[in-house]
């Protein structure tokens, strides 16, 4: 480190070699404080705060321990002081004492722990803070009369440890799982303890006891009963409770055979001991529970490591326009910071809780509440994530960072659920019910047989059968396969709503395309304006088109880059027709010929967008967009599965499209959103499984109607909850690959079913013939689940490699 000081004489270092004293990042622009280099004002500020409070030991524990700091506005955490939110976050609250736990992802080293546990030196209102390094949390006790919650959040953010505040159930879920793990370990401990001791007391029985010490055997047997009771009442409660619940609902689930087996074994043993018939099978009983729980624990660990929890990769990168200096640039939502200014256009979703900067706006919260009547929001009021803007574009200041999971949970709202249930789910439910009855039947028959052949074996055999037959591997196959598929698709920029979509995708036999923005590019167009417009009028059109998210609007908006600062009033967008609004009191309409009032016969070879100013048609833009790369090859591979191309535009592109598409494909132009929807429902009446690809704006009806509706986007993700998936524009050419991968998912699920069924059948045959003890059965059962989970995970990854990497790369 010493060589980094400026006066150390070593000036040959380039600036890139100098590492920030705080965060260790290479410095582009050097700042010096106390002879120490800093990469930015943020890092320097943290150092100043720490050195002023004599907390520089922070830098002695680890080298460059800090994280780069982004600017935090003073209001960033004000919402934490809202009583409602406060209540959610605080673990304990009174007038002079409160406790809060923050999740701080930036915790990574010894210095972090040290600094965060010395917060009381930064502010006297903080009483104590304690870090849990493993969970990356800090628990802070503070005095609410001296420091507000928002001030604490800002304080720790200002020293580089921004807390991640999640008001969803997400954080709660994590602690819930931890406590579940804990109770499992406790149950396991008790079972293990009892199992060990029961075995100890059974030793004389194993070795053969002198008949003269029969009294001792009695005592041991009674001790065994005592030791088994905690196992029966406490350790195996998962199985008992679950079986009891299913019994109460007059149903039968996969835990029922296990519970029956356990109770049979215990009851029979107690009976044997009480009547003095024999020592019973309590060693088997306790051992069985012990191994079942070990299996369960191991199973949980395996699931965790293979978890298909939707990590951020399987979420679509929804983007919004963020203000950057003088311009607006698209940014992925999870890169939004508090205090960022964003612009939201008509029909776009508000990505994060934010404050309205404009005078008023109408927000449709139907995705959140189901109530479709737009709500009026006034300047300075809070707009919640998930609302959809109706009308003029608005500017907002981000108040609260967003989480993708929140938006996706909106996406999965009941309202947008396709009515049909997952086929496999239904199949499994049905099978599980029947399966359980079959198992009980087999058990009864072999019980009767063994009662006649060898009565001493009956109870052990019955228990083995009941335990080993557990069909849980069967139930795991589909969720694990589809969960992994979701992740694979996400990696390849196809973001699906949920696992059921994959199942429907596998069945697709008719694909319908939209033209603009789907088959053709959303950018690099060739635009010609025919007619006359003054620069001022061009500015009006520029502003008006900027309000819309339609691909053509976006193209024209980009093409006319003059005229900033106009304001459009009474903006309206009529899907499939056009947009209109008043600029400087003059009505401007942009859209189709009929919409703008142009009634003459008109032929052109490209998409046309007419402009009418003050009720007078002034000319039209001809927009020719290039066809996306590799579309033709993809269409060739799709073959006759591609049934139609529906376009809202005029027939202008007919020649180009007819060479592009297969001859069998229907090419329809001048289609209104309603026509598209109608076309798709017609296909469905012919028992076709339809997939529709569109821009998600004009086609939202059609996307919703289709069995699989995919919205194609280029830069800005227009969030349409009606669709089932979002596909990045440049991956349209890999559509056939995605379809075949979805098909292979069905194959994998079937193979998983066969695998687990075979496993069960073999194990069952061993159990029925009396070659399996209950203990081995208890080990085999969770093993089969783990086998299936590993199989599906590996199979999905192999299939993904085979289908995707070849041509998508």
């Amino acid at each position: 480190m010493a060589t980094l000081y400026p006066d150390s004489g070593n000036q040959t270092l380039t600036e890139q070699d100098v590492k920030c004293y705080h965060c260790g990042e290479p410095c582009d622009e050097l700042l010096w404080q106390d002879d120490k280099p800093f990469c930015c004002y943020g890092c320097k500020t943290v150092y100043e705060i720490l050195s002023a409070n004599d907390l520089c030991e922070y830098y002695d524990l680890e080298k460059n321990p800090g994280t780069t700091l982004r600017h935090v506005s003073d209001e960033a955490y004000v919402y934490l002081d809202d009583p409602q939110i406060r209540k959610k976050i605080l673990g304990f609250d009174s007038d002079t004492f409160a406790r809060v736990q923050f999740y701080i992802p930036a915790i990574h080293c010894v210095s972090c722990i040290w600094l965060l546990e010395n917060l009381q030196n930064l502010n006297a209102g903080i009483l104590r803070s304690e870090v849990n390094f493993v969970q990356k949390t800090a628990t802070i006790d503070f005095n609410p009369t001296h420091i507000r919650l928002s001030e604490i959040a800002r304080l720790i953010t200002s020293v580089g440890y921004a807390p991640k505040i999640n008001l969803d159930a997400e954080t709660g879920k994590m602690t819930q799982r931890a406590s579940y793990d804990k109770s499992l370990v406790l149950k396991l401990t008790v079972a293990g303890f009892c199992f060990g001791n029961v075995m100890l007391f059974s030793f004389p029985e194993y070795l053969g006891l002198d008949p003269s010490e029969g009294q001792l055997a009695q005592i041991f047997s009674w001790l065994n009963i005592l030791l088994s009771i905690p196992v029966l009442l406490y350790s195996d409660s998962y199985y008992m409770v679950s079986a009891w619940k299913s019994y109460k609902q007059r149903q039968i689930n996969i835990d029922v055979p296990i519970a029956v087996g356990l109770i049979a074994l215990f009851g029979r043993s107690v009976w044997d001991i009480v009547t003095g018939y024999g020592p019973g099978y309590l060693d088997s009983f306790t051992g069985l529970v012990f191994f079942l729980l070990i299996g369960r624990w191991f199973q949980n660990k395996t699931y965790e490591s293979l978890a298909f929890d939707r990590d951020f990769k399987s979420y679509f990168p929804l983007a919004v326009l963020r203000k950057a200096k003088n311009d607006w640039e698209p940014v992925v939502v999870y890169n939004l910071e508090k205090g960022d200014q964003i612009k939201v256009r008509n029909m776009e979703i508000i990505p994060a809780d934010s404050l309205l900067l404009d005078n008023e706006a109408f927000i449709d919260y139907s995705f959140v509440t189901g109530e479709s009547k737009p709500v009026l929001v006034k300047k300075g009021e809070l707009v919640y994530a998930g609302g959809k803007l109706i009308g003029q574009p608005i500017t907002l200041v981000i108040e609260n960072r967003t989480s993708q999971s929140h938006l996706t949970s909106l996406w999965n709202n009941q309202v947008f659920q396709k009515p049909e249930e997952s086929r496999y789910k239904r199949l499994i439910d049905k099978a599980a019910k029947r399966f359980t009855w079959v198992i009980l039947g087999i058990t009864a028959v072999s019980g009767v047989y063994w009662y006649m052949a060898n009565p001493s074996q009956v109870w052990l055999i019955i228990t083995s059968i009941l335990i080993v037959a557990c069909p849980c591997a069967l139930a795991l196959t589909a969720p694990f396969t589809y969960g992994n598929m979701l992740r694979v698709f996400g990696k390849n920029n196809l973001y699906l709503k949920n696992a059921d979509v994959i199942e429907r995708m596998a069945a697709v036999n008719a694909v319908v395309f939209d033209k603009t923005g789907t088959v053709t590019h959303g950018h690099d167009p060739e635009i010609i304006f025919t007619g006359e417009l003054s620069d001022e009028e061009k500015g009006w059109v520029h502003t008006l088109t900027g309000y819309s998210t339609h691909p053509l609007s976006k193209l024209i908006h980009k093409y006319l880059h003059i005229g900033q600062g106009n304001v459009v009033e009474e903006f309206k967008e009529i899907p499939g027709k056009g947009i209109e609004g008043f600029v400087s009191g003059i009505r401007v309409r942009v859209g189709s010929a009929r919409f703008t009032g142009f009634h003459e016969r008109f032929e052109d070879l490209s998409s046309t967008v007419f402009v009418a100013i003050a009720e007078e048609v002034r000319g039209y833009f001809s927009v020719r967009t290039a066809v996306r790369k590799n579309i033709q090859e993809m269409l060739g591979r799709l073959g006759d599965r591609c049934v139609a191309m529906l376009s809202g535009d005029s027939k202008a592109d007919y020649v180009q499209m007819s060479t592009l598409f297969q001859p069998a494909t229907q090419l329809l132009f001048n289609q209104s959103p309603h026509d598209k929807l109608h076309y798709i429902s017609n296909l469905q009446h012919q028992h076709k499984q339809v997939m529709m690809l569109g821009d998600g704006l004009n086609d939202s009806g059609a996307l919703k109607q289709a069995d699989v509706g995919i919205a194609v986007t280029d830069d800005t993700g227009v969030f349409t909850p009606a669709c089932d998936g979002i596909l990045q524009g440049d991956r349209v050419s890999g559509l056939d690959k995605f379809l075949s991968l979805a098909k292979s998912a069905t194959g994998i699920v079937k193979a998983g079913f066969v695998l687990s069924f075979t496993y069960n059948a073999i194990a069952l045959s061993f159990a029925v013939t009396g070659h399996l003890t209950p203990l081995v059965a208890a080990i085999l059962m969770p093993l089969s689940s783990i086998c299936v989970v590993v199989f599906t995970t590996v199979a999905v990854n192999i299939a993904a490699k085979r289908h995707l990497t070849k041509q998508l790369a």
Partner: protein, 61 residues
């Protein structure tokens, strides 16, 4: 023979005590965070010591 019964009851009692101790330690969260406490005990409490250790570190680097 009665001595066996006595011994068994003693051993079982002790074993149960150990079980209860483990149960308590698990419940009271002693296994929740197995890393931070080991670091925390190494932090210096007094300012004087802190400075000297800081200097030491500077010299060594």
């Amino acid at each position: 023979m009665s001595i066996i019964v006595l011994l068994i009851s003693i051993s079982l009692t002790i074993a149960i005590i150990f079980l209860l101790i483990f149960y308590w330690s698990m419940k009271s969260g002693q296994y929740d965070d197995t890393y931070t406490p080991s670091i925390r005990m190494l932090f210096e409490d007094k300012k004087k010591e802190k400075k000297s250790s800081a200097e030491k570190k500077k010299h060594s680097t």
